[in-house]
């Protein structure tokens, strides 16, 4: 049952990385958004899939009566979704502000930290 999702997750990663390898900020951001989903699905699937039975305990019992979905990856993914969202929001604003300040959305032209015409280090003592 995990096979189909595994292939889909592979596709998620492929598309995400392909977008991130672009030099346009917009495509990179789209790639990052997809990457978050890809990783979450990866964790979810690695914990094995169970159809339709959420990990809930009935009112009158102390443990579930039937085999439920694995609760642990769900807890991890729940945390991860929120964090990847805040991360994405931050990156979106960062990219936007970088575009405003630098006047370009080409990642290869954003060279404030590593200027293209950097001088050779000084010789001597």
């Amino acid at each position: 049952m995990e096979t189909g999702l595994s292939i889909l997750i592979g596709l998620f990663f492929t598309v995400s990385v392909y977008l991130m390898l672009s030099k346009e900020l917009v495509r990179m951001l789209l790639g990052i958004a997809i990457l978050g989903n890809a990783v979450n699905l990866l964790i979810f699937t690695a914990g094995r899939l169970t159809r339709e039975v959420p990990p809930l305990i009935p009112e009158e019992l102390y443990t579930p009566a039937v085999q439920t979905a694995n609760p642990l990856p769900q807890a991890l993914v729940l945390t991860a979704i929120v964090i990847s969202f805040s991360f994405l929001a931050f990156l979106l604003v960062l990219a936007f502000r970088a575009y405003q300040e630098l006047g370009t959305d080409d990642a290869n032209e954003m060279r404030v930290a590593e200027p293209a015409d950097e001088q050779a280090p000084p010789q001597g003592y």
Binding site: V26, N40, T50, P54, P55, E59, P64, F85, L92
Partner: protein, 793 residues
């Protein structure tokens, strides 16, 4: 020995480090007179080690120790025998007068306290080096001397020459230190012993270990760099950039002898082999001749002395290299003599420089009237250096000639080298002691007069000590030279010294020859100087120049490597990162048979296929989107598809969260994307698209395959079972996922909330903080920037 009962010797070795801490404060209070108080520290150390003279001369040895890192076998352990005692006495004795001298020499210097501090640090390191028993301890002190030497040479750090010299000394001696560390590790590996005293008790263990050759080479790497043997000699003359007290202490009397000390210490372990008696005399002999010849060319007093120090170190290495007992005795004697006269002469040069304003020997003359005490000290020390009676230098030269003359194979070559070197040394001694003081008085930059007692105490005492050691030759031999020689040969040695040779013998004739040759050469000094200068000009290249080329090469190389791996292109970095990721996932899987077996066709229901297909379509649509709106909508589609997948497989909580987050993401993205452009076509040319596509497909395939391989393994459900079993019974919650988040892993959730808050704050900061428009720098440019900003917002 328990840590509670720390031996006084250990305190003595560590005392200079304490003094280094106190020195700046003392100097703040007492100004230069702090030297009188601070000198008590080395004086006490001298007194303490003097207590060892008696027992050590009877063949006793001591190994005080405290535990340091016992699990690694590294202890602060010390080994006191004839060799280390004499060295410790020289370091602390000369050190006492150097501290006094530094008090006078740097009188009024704003950083005098720091200078004292550095000197004490060095003194402690040097004491630890010569007494160190544990090889690792010894190495640490060895490197400390390199570092403190760096600090002292670069003391006047505002001058580029001084910085260069400091760096050069550090690179050369520090590199040698690494070589020594490798040697020590090999020794520990080959013998299983880490204490020098244990190694010395079975001296043949290294020679028989099969690792003798690499150990020998690596030890020489350490010793030759430290003791400035050709071709590593160039750093020592450059180190004369340091203030004169440093030159007198480190670069003549003590630190540069560390290499010789190491060779002497290791002599029972490594010496007396064919390799040893071939390599060492050759390097030593060449260094002796190169040093003296280069010394002749100089006119700067300190540089003349520095090159003769190189020569003396060469002589010592040559003598140690003979492994002939009488020659070793000569080496020990010469080492003592050299420390005394060279320390004194350096201090004399410093006084002349300090009181007249120049140390160019051609600009000096007739100072004997103005500086009578300095003149006396200079004469005494120079006579000892020339090897004339009645000084210790004379006895040393007699003994070493006797040794080289008798030693058999290679005797003539070694003796000849020694005679030539010694006669040139006599020339320099005469030039340093006679030229500035005799002849007509010459106008000097400062009005010449005698220095204060702080300055002349050192040279006077040291040169008198050279006389006393010779006058009490018998006692010198019995108390100092004999025990030290025993350490070198590994068996008890008896030394009988006489100031007056009993009969006319070969050494005496050689001495006369040396003096005659020296006098002849001195009379031709000007011509000799011109000759050496023209030969050097003809060669045009030396190791010193080579060092500059080496440093320039290193800088250029590292700049080129940096430009290569950090070219500043985001795309390159990303491609490297993901390329490596793909390789890291795929290659081990192929190599180690980690691929999944062929899976069966998944048995999904039709609506499940539908949702998977929806995600697929969403992804492809994002990839090929030509407009912003398409891209955002498609992104939303794949996000909602993910939410539905969560729903299908029993994760309603995830599903709700995903719906919410995805909606918010799309909204923010839409806001941002109204400003940012999405070009309708991907900008990548076909070739680049192929490469990046291959990398992405590699990452995707790698992860898909790994995931399949993982899910084909049996599942270890212990952790999940734990949470399922205890969710209600312990934490009283029926929604297991929620219980895990808020209860079992509550701190994780706290961390998560902190991340969200932090991200929010950063977003706020990014939006609020604006760079101010540049004020009137360039009207056009700022107007343009302003227009752009208006357009952008």
């Amino acid at each position: 020995m328990t840590p509670a009962a720390i031996d006084t010797t250990i305190l003595a070795v560590l005392a200079p480090f304490a003094a280094a801490v106190v020195a700046p404060f003392a100097t703040k209070i007492f100004k230069h007179n702090a030297a009188w108080i601070l000198a008590l520290v080395p004086a006490w150390i001298f007194y303490h080690f003097a207590g060892y003279i008696g027992p050590v001369s009877h063949g006793e040895t001591f190994t005080p120790a405290v535990e340091w890192a016992p699990s690694y076998g590294i202890n602060l352990s010390f080994y006191i025998d004839g060799l280390s005692t004499l060295f410790a006495l020289l370091i602390s004795g000369i050190g006492t007068f150097i501290i006094l001298y530094a008090g006078g020499y740097l009188n009024g210097h704003p950083q005098q306290g720091r200078f004292f501090s550095f000197l004490f640090l060095f003194m402690g390191a040097m004491l630890g080096l010569v007494t160190g028993n544990n090889l690792i301890t010894l190495f640490i002190f060895w490197e400390l001397t390199s570092i403190t030497s760096f600090l002292l040479i670069g003391f006047d750090h505002l001058r580029a020459a001084s910085r260069r010299a400091a760096l050069q000394a550090l690179v050369v001696t520090g590199g040698g230190g690494l070589s020594l560390l490798a040697a020590f590790i090999l020794i520990i590996g080959a013998t299983g012993e880490i204490e020098m005293s244990v190694l010395l008790s079975s001296p043949d263990v290294i020679k028989n270990s099969g690792l003798y050759l690499p150990i020998f080479i690596l030890v020489l790497g350490g010793a030759f760099t430290k003791s400035a043997q050709f071709p590593f000699h160039f750093w020592l003359p450059n180190a004369m950039e340091a203030p004169t007290p440093v030159s007198a202490f480190l670069h003549s009397a003590t630190m540069v002898k560390a290499g010789v000390y190491l060779l002497m210490r290791m002599h029972p372990l490594l010496g007396d082999t064919e390799l040893w008696t071939t390599v060492l005399p050759i390097f030593g002999g060449v260094t002796l001749l190169v040093g003296t010849i280069l010394a002749v060319r100089q006119t700067d007093l300190k540089l003349m002395l520095a090159y003769t120090t190189v020569a003396s170190l060469g002589l010592l290495v040559m003598l140690v290299g003979t492994s002939w007992e009488k020659a070793l005795e000569g080496a020990v004697l010469y080492l003592l003599a050299h420390s005394l006269f060279k320390g004194a002469l350096f201090m004399v040069a410093g006084i002349i420089d300090h009181e007249t304003g120049t140390r160019d020997v051609t600009k000096l003359g007739g100072l004997r009237g103005a500086m009578p005490i300095t003149f006396a000290a200079a004469c005494l020390a120079a006579l000892s250096m020339s090897g004339l009676p009645p000084f210790i230098g004379f006895i040393a030269k007699e003994v070493l000639y006797e040794g080289t003359w008798e030693m058999g194979a290679g005797s003539l070559l070694v003796t000849g080298t020694a005679v030539l070197g010694n006669s040139l040394m006599l020339v320099i001694a005469a030039a340093v002691a006679i030229k500035p003081f005799f002849g007509p008085a010459v106008e000097t930059p400062k009005h010449a007069h005698e220095g204060p007692v702080l300055l002349f105490a050192g040279p006077l005492v040291l040169s008198l000590a050279g006389f006393a050691a010779a006058f009490f030759a018998h006692q010198t031999g019995e108390l100092f030279i004999g025990p030290m020689l025993s350490s070198l040969t590994g068996q008890s040695a008896h030394v009988d010294l006489h100031l007056i040779p009993g009969y006319i013998s070969a050494p005496l004739i050689l001495s006369v020859l040396t003096v005659a040759l020296g006098v002849v050469l001195y009379l031709q000094l000007a011509r000799l100087r011109a000759l050496v200068a023209s030969v050097l000009a003809a060669i045009g290249w030396g190791p010193d120049k080579g060092f500059d080329q080496f440093v320039a090469g290193i800088v250029s190389l590292s700049a080129a490597v940096t430009r290569l791996v950090q070219g500043g292109k985001m795309q390159t970095y990303m491609m490297l990162t993901f390329g490596v990721t793909a390789a890291a996932v795929l290659v081990p899987a192929f190599l180690n048979d980690g691929l999944p077996s062929m899976p069966a066709m998944p048995d999904y229901a039709f609506y499940e296929w539908g949702i998977l297909g929806m995600a697929f379509l969403g992804l492809i649509a994002v990839l090929v989107a030509k407009t912003r709106l398409t891209a955002i909508v498609s992104l939303g589609i794949q996000g909602f598809a993910v939410a539905l997948i969560f729903m299908l497989f029993g994760a309603p909580d995830l599903s709700f969260t995903q719906f919410m987050v995805e909606t918010l993401s799309v909204v923010i993205l839409a806001l941002v994307m109204t400003r940012l452009n999405l070009s309708p076509r991907d900008h990548r040319p076909a070739g680049a698209a192929l490469v990046t596509g291959a990398i992405s497909a590699g990452v995707g395939a790698g992860i898909a395959l790994t995931l399949m391989a993982i899910t084909q393994q049996p599942f270890d459900s212990r952790l999940s079972d734990f949470f399922t079993a205890y969710s209600r019974t312990i934490a009283h919650g029926r929604n297991i996922v929620n219980v895990i988040i808020v209860d079992f892993r509550g701190f994780d959730t706290l961390g998560e909330i902190a991340v969200v808050v932090l991200a929010g704050l950063c977003v706020l900061a990014l939006i609020r903080v604006r760079t101010k428009p540049e004020v009137k720098v360039d009207e056009d440019a700022s107007a343009e920037a302003l227009a752009k900003r208006v357009e952008a917002s």
